[in-house]
């Protein structure tokens, strides 16, 4: 039995410990917002947070989550109103949308440690996430927009 918290809820699953978190979350725990893209840590579609740090769900065994906090796109904000999510909607970032959960989770980790990232900071944090629809320019703009939203709301 492996126990961890998933989006704030305590969960316990009986599963082979080497099972990647991606598949434990999607197939066993039923949260499908986290996506499968490559299985080798190259595309970032499965990016989730482990104790707030971004990890690739396809390469992280579920055993590594024991006793720790796992956050997925569904748990990023209780109302789905994280500044990044609002900025993503405002700027119509998603096209097919399949990579966007991973993009937003990578961006959220960036913003949590860097309130006003530069373009270079964004490149560094985001170049592990592939978008075949080519929404990169809008992702960059939306990260800046989310940083500004947080700043406005923090100072209000």
């Amino acid at each position: 039995m492996i126990e961890f918290t998933l989006n704030g809820e305590p969960r316990a699953i009986e599963i082979e410990p080497e099972t990647p978190l991606l598949w434990a979350i999607r197939d066993e725990l039923g949260l499908t917002g986290t996506k499968f893209g490559c299985g080798i840590g190259q595309c970032g579609a499965c990016t989730i947070h482990l104790d707030g740090e971004p990890v690739r769900g396809c390469l992280t065994p579920v055993s590594a989550a024991a006793g720790r906090a796992v956050t997925t796109i569904e748990g990023l904000d209780p109302d789905g109103e994280h500044p990044l999510q609002r900025a993503w909607i405002e700027l119509s970032v998603p096209q097919c949308g399949y990579c966007q959960s991973g993009q937003i989770m990578s961006a959220a980790a960036l913003l949590s440690g860097n309130a006003a990232p530069s373009d270079a900071d964004i490149d560094d944090a985001m170049n592990g996430n592939i978008c075949r629809c080519g929404s990169y320019g809008r992702i960059r703009a939306a990260i800046h927009r989310a940083a500004a939203l947080r700043e406005e709301e923090g100072s209000a």
Binding site: G37, G39, Q42, Q95, G97, N127, C131, R132
Partner: protein, 730 residues
């Protein structure tokens, strides 16, 4: 329970022409589910509930290109509601949407639905007005529709559409409706956000791979390394000993492993020790293909597609001639969502959950394999995690149906990324010999283009026939389609591969375009912008070569040859202005202009070169796409097309050795990433013409724009994709 206003929708069917219903006897699709509400159907697309929800079936699928938003806009414009209020869902596979196949492609969704969906909204509006007039016993002329309600100003009465829907659907369907003129548009041309942005930003959008039903098993299939191979033996002992592995069996395409989750299925698949017999014959090889392509370019004359004037004489007489070869390479689609399909067998029907560009073909293929009628196959189209042409092909649902047939249980077939890349219908690799001449005044006098390429229809049409006609004709129609796919290329040459080559627009007196069909005997298919994706590179690079041979500015040179093409001139002038073309600081720019899917694009790329690395800094685009239903979405599609084409231009390729693709995943088939993505500006030529395509036209010109910029920057003319600078190591 959902109740339907049956009389209303039968009436609606009879007149709901608009290019939608083929034959007047087509039934309407089942109305969308709306909880306890009563649903009134106005036609196959538009449904209104008595609790005031407006539901729209999109019969063109949402794969990122924005159909949900555009379709909501078109209906809303004439219905007089906020498009954000319209709940858009994927239409089920249904004969009401056949024309002649229910499918999405060719950048045709907004263009093809621009009038029919507005008519749908306008008809419903008229019927709602008529229902209110009847209810209040007033003259319909005294009523107006506004913001989802009918108003009678004289008595200050107001009824929401939901209150009127049931009565409205019973009204006589207007034979003709007046549509707004462009000056009256309130929503068309507006920039409001995508209607699917919120679910996609919150992880709530469901794609095919997210299907969940009770008792679902995940299936993976271990296939022979060459298509057409056969299973000789496998050993299921080790796999079935794993926890959660429920079944292992042979299917026509390989060996299926079924487990309670994907990881378990994948682990089981690794333990099969499967042996395969591989097909005899030639094994496709990229290096051998290249040699063959070069031989054909030199020895063959090609089948003539176009001949104006006398190219031979013009080439002989000219003081300056060019004779060069271009080569392009295979690409995989690599949609972010790997291929998958869920098939859920029921008592006397099956449910299929899939992100597909061809719900109509999926329904027919699954029915055929499972021995059911099409009406017994419910296709639930989910969001597509990218399409780009890959999800046009029904190979994946066919394989899923074969697995479900033997499993007798709900299964979700899931491809790994490696499966996805190894089993694609690739962009063709093509070869081109270009000869051109320039006279003493710097005027081009000859253009001779001979291309060697495969036909792209062979696999595309092979299962199309059955879906087009009645079920009892399926076998015949499939056979006919298959024969057409095999025979037509022999008559017509490399169908689809040559699009854009023979109709290059430049006013040159002597033009010959010819093609030689060469079949690589691997699965090739339609890849975003299809034949244009290669020909855009070739045509727009070679016209640039002629410009330089003439000592002319590449933009001015093109302008001089495009006098008969006002839309080309419009985008050319706009891109020149916006990109700062020709100003002294811009020595690193390349330009390309190209028409595809009815849309004309101009792109100016700015590059920087460090060592042998090409970096694209900025791309300025001008597009003429008629009416931009949502300019924000148009810009997004052009940005997307540029990145997609740029990835193929400078990053990656699929090569073949011993019949198999060498590349397998994103480590050796790299995609353009954020730190490599250029700044992209898109400028739209204002127009009230009918809309033309935007999903694909951004892709064809970009490789040439970059190659032309590389030439301007380095003096190296790159004639091969992906573009690679000669290494400078001494």
């Amino acid at each position: 329970m959902t109740a339907l206003t049956r009389r209303g929708f039968l009436q609606g069917t009879a007149v709901a022409a608009g290019g939608l219903v083929v034959g007047c006897a087509s039934p309407l699709p089942p109305a969308p589910l709306a909880g306890k509400a009563q649903v009134s159907s106005f036609d196959a697309w538009l449904h209104i509930t008595n609790d005031d929800r407006i539901l729209l079936y999109a019969d063109k699928v949402e794969m990122g290109q924005g159909t949900f938003t555009v379709f909501a806009t078109l209906v809303a414009e004439e219905l007089e509601v906020d498009p954000q209020r319209i709940e858009v869902r994927h239409a089920p596979a249904n004969d009401a949407f056949k024309q002649p196949i229910q499918s999405t492609g060719g950048s045709a969704s907004a263009a093809g639905r621009f009038i029919p969906l507005r008519e749908s909204g306008a008809r419903a509006r008229e019927m709602l007005l008529a229902a209110a007039a009847e209810r209040w016993d007033v003259d319909v002329e005294a009523l107006r529709a506004e913001d989802g309600a009918v108003l009678h100003d004289a008595t200050r009465r107001r009824a929401r559409y939901g209150e009127l829907a049931e009565d409205a659907a019973r009204q006589k369907v207007p034979r003709e409706v007046a549509l707004k003129s462009p000056e009256e548009f309130r929503w068309i041309g507006g920039e409001f956000p995508r209607v699917d942005a919120a679910v996609k930003a919150r992880g709530q959008a469901t794609y095919g791979i997210d299907a969940r039903v009770p008792g679902l098993l995940t299936a993976v299939v271990v296939r022979p390394p060459l298509r057409g191979g056969r299973v000789i033996s496998f050993d299921a002992t080790a796999a079935t000993a794993l926890p959660g592995v429920e079944a292992v069996f042979e299917v026509p395409t390989g060996v299926a492993v079924l487990a309670t989750n994907y990881w378990r299925a994948r682990k089981g698949a690794a333990l099969l020790a499967a042996k395969f017999e591989l097909p005899e014959g030639r094994r496709y090889d990229s290096a051998a293909m290249r040699a063959e392509h070069e031989r054909l370019l030199r020895e063959e004359d090609g089948n003539e597609l176009r001949h104006d004037g006398d190219v031979g004489e013009a080439l002989e007489l000219a003081p300056v001639t060019l004779d060069v070869e271009y080569h392009t390479t295979h690409q995989a689609h690599a949609t972010m969502e790997p291929m998958n399909c869920t098939v859920v067998p029921g008592e006397d029907h099956v449910d299929v959950y899939i992100g597909t560009q061809t719900p109509g073909i999926v329904q027919d293929v699954v029915a055929d394999i499972l021995g059911l009628s099409r009406s017994q196959v419910a296709v639930h189209t989910e969001f597509l995690g990218g399409g780009f042409g890959r999800r046009f092909f029904p190979d994946v649902p066919a394989e899923a149906a074969e697995v479900a047939k033997r499993a007798g249980a709900p299964i979700k077939l899931v491809y790994s990324r490696e499966d996805d890349i190894a089993n694609d219908f690739y962009r063709p690799a093509t070869a081109h010999r270009l000869r051109g001449a320039v006279d003493a005044d710097g005027h081009p006098t000859a253009w001779h283009h001979h291309l060697v390429a495969p036909s792209l229809i062979k696999y595309m049409v092979s299962r199309m026939g059955g879906a087009m006609g009645p079920e009892w004709l399926r076998g015949t129609l499939n056979a006919l389609a298959g024969a057409a796919g095999s025979v037509l290329p022999g008559m017509l040459g490399p169908v689809l591969s040559h699009e854009g080559a023979q109709d290059q627009p430049y006013a040159i007196e002597n033009v010959r375009v010819a093609s030689t069909l060469w079949d690589p005997d691997i699965h090739v298919g339609i890849w975003r912008s299809v034949g244009h994706s290669n020909n855009g590179f070739v045509v727009e690079s070679f016209i640039d070569e002629l410009a330089h041979a003439a000592g002319a500015d590449p933009a001015s040179f093109r302008r001089g040859l495009l006098a008969e093409h006002p839309r080309h001139l419009a985008v050319l002038d706009l891109v020149v202005e916006k990109s700062g073309w020709g100003t002294s600081r811009k020595q690193n720019q390349g330009i390309a202009i190209y028409e595809s899917f009815g849309t004309v694009m101009a792109e100016v790329a700015e590059v920087s070169v460090r060592g042998d690395e090409i970096r694209v800094e900025k791309v300025t685009c001008a597009v003429h796409c008629g009416t931009a239903v949502n300019p924000n979405l148009v810009r997004a599609q052009i940005e997307s097309g540029v990145i997609y084409g740029l990835t193929a231009a400078i990053k990656s390729q699929i090569t073949f050795r011993d019949g198999m693709p060498v590349e397998s995943n994103f480590h050796d088939y790299p995609m353009l990433r954020m730190n490599e993505a250029p700044q992209i500006e898109v400028h739209i030529v204002p127009s009230n013409d009918p809309p033309t395509g935007v999903g694909e036209p951004g892709t064809p010109p970009i490789a040439a724009a970059v190659a032309n910029a590389v030439f301007a920057t380095t003096g190296q003319r790159l004639r091969e994709l992906p573009l690679r600078l000669a290494t400078t190591d001494a």
